[in-house]
């Protein structure tokens, strides 16, 4: 069976769901951030698979922007984690409830 | 069949073997050159003039006891030297040792492959090599190696930025990312890029010294600092693998500098017909000669200059090299557009 974009979309959906499970189930905030990176990678796979099928480079340009935004988000998110760790000595997301009612 | 499987496999075998032999003899070359710089003779006992010293070193290191710290992470502890060594070896897939030559009745290209993103491939592989150092310090489960490895990796990723910016200036000059096209661009432009981009070349040399943890930037692995740096807990063949990885990185950086800034396989004045008698020296020999000059330069700098302190090192990387590299890039862009 030739590899159609359907295969790539199924791979992308499975990777996306694994990332979503990571975000929902784990309590270590660094693992949650890494699951978000998995989600962004799933989206990238989808974009590039379609860029290859339609012979249009615009999908890859979009993927470059996704990677740039992921880098920016990772940097700022990890800065926030470090600042929080310095105050509370924990990276458990259940303990990050300072502003809850 | 022959062209797709046998010839590339032969090329890979030749390049890998030559690299590994070269790396082990680099240890001897370094000890000899530093010794001569200090008015002494270096290793002289094993073999004539000490030529068999690397073999003696290899035998000693293989026979040493293999110690793993008790609470260390076994898998990561074993994998870290391998992660350090592999990027240094796989860069050779894109380095061109010569053009297409006629060997045994078929056209053979003297490079393993020519990817059209070759230069970016080299940069990305170098950035993966940082993991070996971080993981070595972490897996040792000891304070000194951890601190030293964090310092070393911070140094590496800082100087990576400066080196990548100088490579972008070279890409601007050549118009392509493929290593073979860069050498051909130097042939067409009748000048080596090292003379057209002197600032980029100087920044590349300084940045590569820091990238390969060589003196004067070798604070993370110096013995007087932090008791031996990130490889304190390593002994025997794993320790040897770290050092071989460092020398392999040095050879890689020399090869890349040769290709980008000094014409690769081209002889001096490649377009001047009067110097055609120089063509009796084959192209790959010119490449090896130029790389050797760079290696000698690296060892010479180690024998001569004192060590940078860590904060001086980081200040140099971020506050001096990166702005100068960006300025060089802007000036190159302006000149290129105006001369178009």
């Amino acid at each position: 069976m030739p590899i159609t974009p359907t295969h790539y979309m199924l791979l992308s959906a499975a990777l996306f769901i694994i990332g979503v499970i990571g975000v929902m189930v784990r309590r270590n905030i660094i693992i949650i951030f890494m699951s978000i990176e998995l989600i962004l990678n799933a989206v990238n796979i989808n974009l590039i698979a379609f860029s290859d099928q339609l012979h249009n480079v615009i999908g890859q340009v979009f993927a470059v922007f996704v990677i740039a935004v992921a880098a920016a988000e990772a940097a700022v998110g990890l800065g926030i984690i470090l600042a929080f760790y310095r105050n509370k000595e924990s990276v458990n997301i259940d303990e990050m409830n300072l502003m809850r009612w | 069949m022959i062209d797709t499987f046998i010839i590339p496999t032969l090329k890979i075998l030749i390049v890998l073997n030559a690299t590994l032999v070269g790396v082990s003899y680099m240890t001897l070359l370094e000890r000899k050159v530093i010794a001569w710089a200090q008015s002494r003779l270096g290793p002289m006992r094993v073999g004539p003039q000490g030529v068999l010293q690397p073999i003696a070193d290899a035998v000693k290191l293989i026979l040493k006891e293999d110690i793993t710290p008790s609470k260390a992470d076994k898998w990561v502890f074993t994998a870290a030297p391998v992660i350090s060594m592999v990027p240094a070896l796989i860069v050779y897939a894109v380095i061109p040792f010569g053009p297409v030559v006629r060997l045994f009745g078929r056209d053979v290209s003297l490079y393993i492959t020519d990817v059209n993103v070759g230069l970016l491939y080299i940069v990305s592989v170098a950035s993966v090599g940082v993991y070996g150092i971080i993981l070595a310090g972490y897996a040792s489960n000891s304070k000194f190696p951890l601190l030293a490895s964090l310092r070393a990796s911070a140094q590496l990723i800082s100087y990576e930025v400066a080196v990548t910016l100088t490579l972008v200036s070279v890409i601007l000059m050549s118009g392509s990312l493929s290593m073979v096209s860069i050498v051909n661009a130097q042939y067409n432009a009748h000048v080596w890029f090292g003379f057209v981009q002197p600032v980029a070349f100087v920044i590349f040399v300084i940045g590569s010294l820091a990238e390969t943890n060589r003196a004067p930037f070798d604070l993370p692995e110096a013995e007087q600092e932090l008791t031996g740096g990130f490889h304190t807990e390593y002994s025997g063949m794993r320790f040897a693998l770290f050092f071989l990885a460092e020398y392999a990185n040095m050879i890689v950086v020399s090869s890349v500098a040769t290709t980008l800034f000094f014409g690769g396989w081209l002889r001096p004045f490649p377009n001047v017909a009067a110097l055609h008698f120089l063509d009796v020296i084959p192209s790959w020999t010119w490449f090896l000669i130029k790389s050797f000059v760079f290696l000698y330069l690296f060892i010479w700098i180690r024998a001569t200059l004192p060590r940078y302190r860590y904060d001086q090192l980081m200040r140099l990387g971020w506050k001096v090299l990166i702005p100068v590299a960006i300025l060089n890039l802007v000036v190159t862009g302006i000149v290129k557009v105006m001369l178009l």
Binding site: L11, M24, V25, I45, H55, Q60, V64, A71 | -
Partner: protein, 170 residues
């Protein structure tokens, strides 16, 4: 045939390492599995005729972002694992079930939508340059220059933000 073998192998590795990322207890091992995952995704991009994206994936994701994660993991390396006590309010099994249901639904949409839709064609892209990197660069600097500049400003803001957030004293 070789294409299919390559795709299935890469897909198996990518999904396998992704599951390992999400389920490993030790954070450092999780980060290492993430690096391997990204390297296999880069190999997938090479298969999809996107060599520039593949190298950018290795350079930025595997060589930059995950190094950052590794640094932070080592700086917050706690003696007791952070998930020692399980939270009774968290509905873990329900989360798994819901995610599985969404996956089945996504799969059904993908497969059925692709069976019914006509073959998609798009007009041939006429760019004055040839070669993958050159085409991406052309689009970035002509049609999509404004998003490019905004992305660079975003990265500048992120850089300043990260430094300010992680500094000890302002």
């Amino acid at each position: 045939m070789a294409h299919a073998i390559a795709f299935y192998t890469l897909a198996a590795f990518i999904l396998g390492f992704a599951i390992l990322v999400v389920t490993t207890k030790d954070t450092v091992h999780s980060v290492l599995f993430l690096v391997l995952d990204f390297l296999f995704v880069a190999a997938l991009y090479v298969m999809l005729n996107a060599p520039f994206l593949a190298v950018i994936q290795v350079l930025v994701y595997a060589g930059g972002i995950v190094v950052l994660y590794l640094f932070v993991v080592m700086l917050v390396n706690l003696k007791r694992p952070p998930e020692a006590h399980s939270d009774p309010h968290r509905m873990t099994k329900f989360g798994f079930g819901l995610a599985g249901a969404v996956l089945i639904e996504l799969g059904a949409i993908v497969v059925s939508g692709y069976m019914k839709a006509p073959a998609v064609t798009s007009p041939a892209q006429n760019l004055p340059v040839s070669g993958n990197t050159e085409q991406v660069g052309w689009l970035l600097y002509t049609n999509y220059l404004i998003p490019f500049e905004i992305a660079s400003m975003l990265l500048l803001v992120a850089m300043i933000g990260a430094i300010v957030l992680a500094k000890r004293e302002l």
